[in-house]
């Protein structure tokens, strides 16, 4: 059974309504996440990949109830997440924890490591005193830091070490699912590899489920078992990672992979298969979101929105022309 089940999840933001936009023609609807469905199996890594503004982070915030959804359903172990009363949200967060992108912004600069990592222990388990310190030491060692780091402040650490602190904080609640939102994007390659190795080791040893969000195809391809590709608020393709990377079916996925520079492809010429740029889904027209940029578009792409359909075994694609 799936640990997390997302059905037709939708988030619309109203943009404008301020003084100037009232002059300019009223509110617009940003369909940041539009009717997406997917499920995360237990003990697997689910990769969510896409360019900026495609709705990856919004999806993460919706699942963790950091922002309210417009419509849709989210089930975590059968629990109806979106209709959970406010006082029970904390119970949900015990099971679902997040790791954030910017390790400089996501740690309180005025708290010591022991308090940063200890806080979830106090909140969720009521841990106090020496017991709490002992558990923090255990967590520090789990993420490759040492006990002498206990009483230091975040500014005394490098980016990679801070990200380890963020991981330890997420693990403190003993969650079943961790949502990592671009956890290695701000790190240099050599340190990025350390953190990726750590995440994979922890995921396997603790049998965690992981939703790994990134714009970097190489990183997602390395870590994820299942990959969903998002574009302008929609899931364009979803399937097993091996399949997505070897036989992508959606033209957007194909373009992403072709645009993705890899060290192995250094001799190849540069070509950009997609013209133009991502347009934000502000009052989007009917039809496929990729239509204005798509190399294989046909007339109906403009009017009829393609549904995410299973085109191969466990491989869903949203495209009329596949």
């Amino acid at each position: 059974m799936a640990l997390l089940e997302v059905k037709n999840l939708t988030k619309h933001f109203e943009i404008g309504g301020g003084f100037f936009s009232r002059l300019g023609g009223g509110k617009k609807l940003l369909k940041a996440v539009d009717q997406i469905s997917f499920s995360v199996p237990e003990g697997k890594t689910f990769g969510l990949v896409g360019e900026s503004g495609c709705g990856k982070s919004t999806t993460a915030r919706l699942i963790t109830r950091l922002i309210p959804a417009t419509t849709g359903e989210v089930y975590f172990e059968g629990m109806d997440v979106l209709n959970l009363p406010k006082r029970d949200v904390r119970k949900l967060r015990k099971h679902i924890q997040m790791i954030f992108q910017d390790p400089y912004a996501s740690l309180n600069p005025r708290m010591r490591v022991v308090d940063i990592i200890g806080r979830p222990l106090t909140i969720f388990f009521g841990a106090k005193g020496q017991k709490r310190v002992d558990r923090v030491v255990e967590l520090l060692e789990l993420v490759g830091l040492r006990p002498e780091h206990l009483y230091r402040y975040p500014h005394e650490f490098s980016g990679g070490q801070r990200q380890r602190i963020g991981i330890a904080r997420a693990l403190a609640a003993n969650p079943k699912l961790i949502i990592a939102d671009e956890p290695v994007s701000s790190l240099d390659v050599s340190v990025q590899a350390q953190v990726l190795n750590l995440l994979r080791k922890l995921q396997r040893e603790l049998k965690l489920s992981l939703i790994f969000i990134s714009h970097d195809l190489n990183v997602v391809g390395y870590l994820a078992d299942i990959v969903a590709v998002m574009y302008a608020g929609k899931i364009m393709e979803i399937g097993r990672a091996e399949e997505i990377f070897t036989t992508p079916l959606n033209p957007y996925t194909q373009a992403l992979l072709a645009s993705n520079p890899t060290v192995g492809s250094f001799a190849e010429s540069i070509e950009s298969p997609l013209k133009g740029e991502v347009t934000l889904p502000l009052n989007p027209p009917p039809g496929c979101r990729l239509e204005p940029r798509c190399p294989i578009r046909v007339s109906r792409c403009k009017t009829i929105e393609p549904r995410l359909e299973e085109k191969r075994l466990l491989h869903q694609v949203a495209c009329h022309e596949v």
């Binding site: 390659v189 714009h215 520079p261 060290v263």
Partner: protein, 323 residues
Amino acid sequence: MNAPLLEVKNLTVRFRLKRGILNAVQDVSFSLQESETFGIVGETGCGKTVTSLSILGLIPCPPGEITSGEILFEGENLLKKSPREMEKIRGRRIAMIFQEPMTSLNPSLTIGDQIAECYRVHMAYSKKVALDFTEQMLSLVRLPSPKTMVHCYPHELSGGMRQRVMIAMALACQPKLLIADEPTTALDVTVQAQILELLKELQAKLKMALIFISHNLAVVARLCDRIGVMYAGSMVELADKKSLFTDPLHPYTRALLNAIPSPELRDKTLNAIPGTVCNLFEPPPGCKFHPRCSKAKEICKTEAPVLELKSGKNLTACYFPGA
């Protein structure tokens, strides 16, 4: 072989800060022929940007100082030039593109005014002529409808379009050398591919030399013929693109190439480089990479290796290069 267009010799740059002296760039040398593409790769704080700012005479002084070295551009030492003389070179003969297109454009001027300024200042063209040239530049970087585009403000454009404006501005006076400092880092992959394609095409068309700086080896590889790898302020390896990727000699280059994740490496542990980059205020004696190097021996801890031809085709600063 002709005299090189640009020759950087033993460049050393330091910053005097409250915490002490930061050795940003140490003894870096490289040269560049006309219409050659040269890439500088390295991680945060390795000195790539400081090197390029030194070429343009943009190191803030104080706290920065270039303590030794020469930068020869078309035979003239740029470090001996007065600020006034540098102003004439900067933007005219050497131009630069920066990483963040939003912060390097002036938000309160139209992009037409900003590009036209290059022509007005360097070429002393009239307003009308400058505007004509500006429109031509905008269509050269393939921005749609240049006639209306000149009246746009930077906030009206997307990231990719802003970077195209930056390129148009840099190329306005047809410089001999273009320095691009992480020009695609802030962009999405599909847009990055477009900008790389554009840069490559314009570089060939205008026959200018290009120094392309990036932390991303794969991006540099797409654009450059020769590549220099920097670590903690020093150039550790310098080679042709092909031999750098097929036969890297310096342990750092090898480690860097091995640390890049990819779908093919799934189920394998990545070969991460242990530790972190050394503190540039108090760099370790000897080779600066030795605390993280798997092949370090006694000599590495005491004497810094120099960049030279040891074996194979690559220049490398290592006592024990290769496998």
